[in-house]
Amino acid sequence: MRNLRRTTMAGAAGATSLVLALTGCSSSGDGNGTKAPAKALTQSEIDKAMDTPTTITFWSWLPNIQDQIDLFEKKYPKIKVVLVNQGDASAQYVKLRAAVKAGQGVPDVAQVGYDYLPSFTQTKSLLELTPYGADKIASDFVPGVWSQVVQNGGIYAVPQDSGPMGTLYRTDILSKAGVDAPATWADFATAAQEVKSKTGAYITNLPGNDMPQTLGFFSQAGASLFTYDGKTTVGINVDNDVTQKVVAYWQDLIQKDLVSTDPDFTDAWYQGLSRGKYATWLTAAWGPTFLAGSAKNTSGAWRAATLPQWSAGQNVSGNWGGSSDAVMAATKNPIPAYELAKFINNDPSSTIELANKQSLYPTTISTLSSPAFTDAKSDFYGGQQVNKFFADVSSTVPQNQKYVPFEDYVNSSYNDTLGKAIADHGDLKAALSAWQQQLVTYAKQQGFSVK
C-alpha cells in the first residue's frame, strides 16, 4: 500500500525529521535582540529612527493587511515592510516558535492572538513596549481589550481586534415558534422547546471543537479559569462551580436534543446555517460580517441581540477571539517595529479600514464611536445597525479571561475531553473534571507549579 519508496525506516525518519525541523539549530533564541532601554525614548530619537532607511519583517495571517502596510509606508517612506503570511494562525505559531528557538528568521513584528501572548512572554520572546511609548496609547483602547496585552504591568502587544459576544438570531424561525429573542438562559431553554416542536430547528448549535466559544460562555457566567504570574506559576481552575453550572445547563439541552453539536466552521455547519437548521448563532462581533458572507440566502432574516443572561436584568457578555501585533524581542529595529504595530492598530485611517473592509472588530474607542463604522446599516440584518449594537456590547465584557503559556495543549486537551463529550452527547461534568486533571498533569510535567 501507500508508496514503494516508503520503507520502515524512512517512515521513522519522516516523522522524526519533522521534529528535527522544529528543534533544529541552537536551542535558545533570546538575548540576541535589542535590550529594552531603561528610560522612555524621546520623540527625537523616534523621529530619527523613522527617518533612517530600514527594512522590517511582519508576519500576519490577515489576507489584506498589505493595504494598511501601504498606508504606513506612505507615512514613513524610509521604512520598508516585508509582509509574510504563513497561512493561518496555528501555522504561524508553529513557525514563529521554531524561529525563536533557532534564533534565526524571527520577524520584527508578528500577529499574535491574545490567548497565545503568554506562550511567547513565557519564553521572553516579546519586547516590552512601555519604553517605546505604548503606555501613552493605552487610553485609546477599550479597557477590557487593553488588559489582554498587559502582563504583570508590562505591555507586550498592541490590540488589533476583539470579539465581544452576542446572539445572532433568525426572526423568521423564532416568530414561527412564537418566541422573542431570549433574554435569559432560562428563556433560551424554554424557547428551545418551542422552536424544536414548532419548526424542527435547533435553538442553536454547540460545537465540540471550539474551545474559545466555550471559554466565552464560562467567562460570561463569571468563571475565571486561568492565572499566570509571568514566571513559573500557573493557576488552573477549569472545573469549578460556575463552569459546572454552565455545562450542566448545556448537558440538559443536548440530552433533550434541543441543541445540535455539529463541529463549527465545517461544511456541515455552513450548510446548517444556510438551511435554517439553527435558529441562533451565539457568536462574537466579527460574526455578523462573516455570516453575511457565508449564508447569503438567509439575508434579511437575521438580527443581533445580547447573549442570554444568567439572571434577568444583567448585561454581561464574553469574549471570543481577537488578536494583537507584538514586537519580537529578537528585533534589531525596535522603534520602527513598534511604530508599525501602533500605526496599524491605532491610526484612525488604518483602524477604520480594518473594521469596515476586513471586518475586524475594532479595539479603539474612537473607531468604535466613529459614524463611519457605527452608522453602517446592513440589509442582511433587516437594516439593523449591527456595528453600533456590538460597540455597546464591548464594554460589558468581563475582564476575567486570562491564559496560560501552553494554549496549544489546553486546546487539544479540550477537544479530547469536554469537546468530545459535547460531540458524543456524553457526560459533560465528568469531562470537565478530566480536562482539569489533564491540564494539571501537563503543567506539572512541564515544570510549572500549579496553584
Partner: protein
C-alpha cells in the same frame, strides 16, 4: 582433480594481481559514482535519524529547558495509553482493511490477466487512477461524499427514503478511513500483482491447457503460486502503510474534528505532541518506538511467510 586445475591456474600470482588491480579501480569508481547518493542519504536520512535518536534521550520542559533523561521518554511511551490505543487502532485497521484490499487487488489482477475482460486496458487504467490522485485530494473528496447533511451518500439514502448513516461519527470514522485507503491503493496493488502475473511463462499455461485445466484451475494452481512473492511485497507495504496512517485521519480531522482525537494513530499522536504539545523529545521517542514496532511486525510476517514458502 581435473576440475580444480583451471581454477588454481586462474589464481596464479600475476592473474590475481591483475584482477585485484582492476577490482580496486572499479571500487574507487563505484564509490565515486554513488558518492552523490551517499551524501544526500547521509544528509537527509542518517543525520536526521541520528539527531532524532539523540533528541529522544532528552526531556524538554517549558520551565527549565532541556535535560538528559536517558530512556525516560521510552518508558513513558510504553506506559502511555494514548500510544497503545493508537497502535491498537491501526492494528485493527490492518487486520480488516488489508485483507479486503489485497483480495480485491488479486481478484482484479486475475480477472484482467485472464484476458476475458472487455476493454482490459481501460479497466486497468480506471482502477489505477485513484492511486494517481494525491491522498489529500482523495480524502477531501471522500469527506464531501460522507458529509452528514449534504453528502452524496446521504442524498442517495434520502432519495430512496432511507435513514442515512453518519459516516463521520466517532463510531464509523475508522471504517470510513478504511474505505478511503482501499479506494486509493487497490489499483496500486493490482498493478504490482498484474505485473507479476504477466511474467509467468506462457508454456505453463499451454501445458495446463493440454492437461485439460480450466481457467479457475489455472488461476488456483499456477497464477496464485506465481503471485506469492508479489503478494508478500504488497503485504509488507500494507503493514507499513497501516501503521503509518497519517494523511487521511489528519485531513478528516478538519471535516470531523470530534470523531478523530489527537491520538487517533501513533503517527498523528507524535505529530500532535511535537506541534501542538511542543514536546519534540517525546514525539521523537514515539516515532522511534513506532518504527521498531513496524520493523518487528514486518520481520515476523516475512519470517512466517518465508518459512511457509520453504515448506511448500
Amino acid at each position: 582433480m581435473t576440475a580444480e586445475t583451471p581454477r588454481r591456474m586462474a589464481l596464479s600470482a600475476p592473474a590475481a594481481r591483475r584482477s585485484r588491480g582492476i577490482h580496486a579501480g572499479q571500487t574507487r569508481t563505484a564509490w565515486l559514482l554513488i558518492l552523490p547518493f551517499l551524501l544526500v542519504f547521509a544528509a537527509f536520512f542518517t543525520v536526521p535519524l541520528g539527531y532524532s535518536a539523540y533528541l529522544s534521550l532528552f526531556t524538554s520542559k517549558l520551565v527549565g529547558g532541556e535535560v538528559f533523561s536517558g530512556l525516560d521518554n521510552y518508558s513513558r511511551a510504553l506506559h502511555d495509553p494514548h500510544f497503545w490505543e493508537g497502535l491498537r487502532r491501526v492494528a485493527f485497521f490492518l487486520c480488516v482493511q488489508m485483507p479486503i484490499m489485497l483480495a480485491a487487488s488479486t481478484f482484479i489482477a486475475l480477472a484482467l490477466d485472464s484476458q476475458r475482460v472487455r476493454g482490459g486496458k481501460f479497466v486497468r487504467l480506471l482502477v489505477f487512477v485513484p492511486y494517481a490522485v494525491p491522498s489529500v485530494v482523495a480524502t477531501l473528496m471522500w469527506g464531501y461524499l460522507y458529509g452528514k447533511d449534504y453528502g452524496l451518500i446521504t442524498q442517495m439514502f434520502d432519495a430512496v427514503g432511507l435513514h442515512a448513516p453518519d459516516l463521520l461519527s466517532p463510531g464509523s470514522i475508522l471504517g470510513s478511513t478504511m474505505n478511503i485507503v482501499c479506494w486509493e491503493f487497490v489499483g496500486y496493488n493490482m498493478i504490482v500483482l498484474y505485473a507479476a502475473l504477466r511474467s509467468v511463462p506462457n508454456d505453463l499455461y499451454e501445458a495446463a491447457e493440454i492437461d485439460g485445466a480450466g481457467q479457475w484451475r489455472i488461476a488456483w494452481s499456477i497464477k496464485l503460486p506465481a503471485l506469492r512473492p508479489a503478494l508478500l511485497l504488497t503485504l509488507i507495504f500494507s503493514i507499513i502503510g497501516s501503521f503509518q496512517l497519517f494523511n487521511e485521519p489528519n485531513l478528516l480531522f478538519n471535516i470531523a474534528p470530534n470523531a478523530i482525537g489527537s491520538d487517533f494513530t501513533p503517527n498523528l499522536y507524535a505529530y500532535n505532541l511535537a506541534f501542538r504539545g511542543q514536546d519534540n523529545n517525546y514525539a521523537a521517542a514515539i516515532a522511534f518506538l513506532l518504527g521498531f514496532v513496524v520493523m518487528i511486525v514486518a520481520f515476523v510476517v516475512q519470517g512466517v511467510t518465508n518459512r511457509k514458502e520453504r515448506q511448500a
